[in-house]
Symmetry: C2
Subunit: 302 residues, 2 copies
Amino acid sequence: LIGRADFLGPQEWAPLDSAHLNRYYTTMKAAFQGVPGAYSEIAARKTLGPSCLTVPCNDFEDVFDAVASRRVDRGVIPIENSLAGSIHENYDHLVKHHLHIIGETHLRIEHALLARHGATLRAIKEVRSHPQALAQCSHFFARHPHAIPVSYFDTAGAARSLGEETGTHTAAIASIRAARLYGLSVVRRHIENSTDNFTRFLVISRTPVVPPLSEPAKCSISFTPVANRPGILFRILGVFSLRDIDLTKIESRPDPSSPFTYRFYLDFVGNPREPRTAKALDHLREIVKDLRLLGAYPAAHR
Amino acid sequence: LIGRADFLGPQEWAPLDSAHLNRYYTTMKAAFQGVPGAYSEIAARKTLGPSCLTVPCNDFEDVFDAVASRRVDRGVIPIENSLAGSIHENYDHLVKHHLHIIGETHLRIEHALLARHGATLRAIKEVRSHPQALAQCSHFFARHPHAIPVSYFDTAGAARSLGEETGTHTAAIASIRAARLYGLSVVRRHIENSTDNFTRFLVISRTPVVPPLSEPAKCSISFTPVANRPGILFRILGVFSLRDIDLTKIESRPDPSSPFTYRFYLDFVGNPREPRTAKALDHLREIVKDLRLLGAYPAAHR
């Protein structure tokens, strides 16, 4: 499989067509944070096709390093969750590493209760998972007080730990894919409190892929306002609003070089090939410094 | 001391003068998250005076509960750090609990290396602290590779753990105050990488205290835009910009009831007693829903 990917040649010569994401690189290598069965791995397979080779990494920094150092072709990182908010660390990595966002996807997070074969819901005493996943299933724990939630470093890791043990009194909250990978039974599906639990993932690459004009596209940019003067953010948003460009997300992160000043992150609907978007970016350069186009990519349907 | 506080009567009758913060309630009780010696406790003593009774809490939710249930008079919570960014959880608590921000302060975070008496820097093998404090002292660890960083749930808790043990090969990174409280030696001061490490803390109370017009004031507000329509944020910022009102901070958090829609948090320079600020808030009500004035308070000098 790896030979096939090499034969296709470096990613630099990829056609400027977002459809190549699943059409050409069937043996593409994609890094993700976590262990197999993690939601990030599911997002990678959703965007890049089920035949991509997923490469587990210890942390988000490793995912960026794996792409930058050519160990993999793509990285897939979570950027925000509809309940918990932004994964701020990944905003910092996007600016630090000179990589490009080439795609996005929204994954519905469906938590399942997994245990070794033979386990029954009534006999379960301990449920392991990431603290956020445990919190997102608090209604389940209220209904089943015999099941005690225990924090674990990640969801799929909690599932994997069950496979290495014996006994049927311990369960994990993770994905259905984790059950398949670690030979576990699905004791109960959809134990999450809210069906509105989505995570948005970004696909990162060493080279940009400008999306075709035929499909709706989004841009992600980052910048620092030229001065901390009153009304500067209003003027920055005016660049977009006066051109009827729709902002989909605004985020700010502290600038470590100067206390309580901020770097901004904007997502907006547009394609740098369109004159309107290109002119907005030119206009923006007049009032901000260190403008970075983090990527232009086809907008995901929800 | 508690008798004295009771004698002074309920906080509801406090004079509308921010100076009362340190003048009247010398025996005020203030909740903070962490153990004694935590940076939050230092911030509480800085704002409310060194004779306030500080009440440790396990988590931020407990701090809000302690104020709401009248167990304490004030809560002191960190809201943002100049290097790490916002403490997002506290934005959620501010909206959930109907309490009022009545003050703010900026505390310079100065990390010291603490150990039991007789310890020398060269003999230290393990250094315990909160992961963020360890990261903020990474230059120290690079210069002293014999000292291995070990994660601990909080900085002052790491210092306290040394007092319960014997031996001089283990150290902690925490405040100078923690050294005093737990009978430790300060092996090295100022081991933080950056002198630009500030945390902004808020003082919360059951009743609002409108600051006098004689000193510069700030307001913190929260709202949801009426619709997710293009340009709505531009129009919202226009409410302030067209009145020359200076925004000092903008933050957004996901609205759990609707995926990828947001609740906004703004801080701006102004006093609700001034017509300009009052009219801006009236104007804002026309284009946002669920507007909350989280508090008006004297602006801290940095």
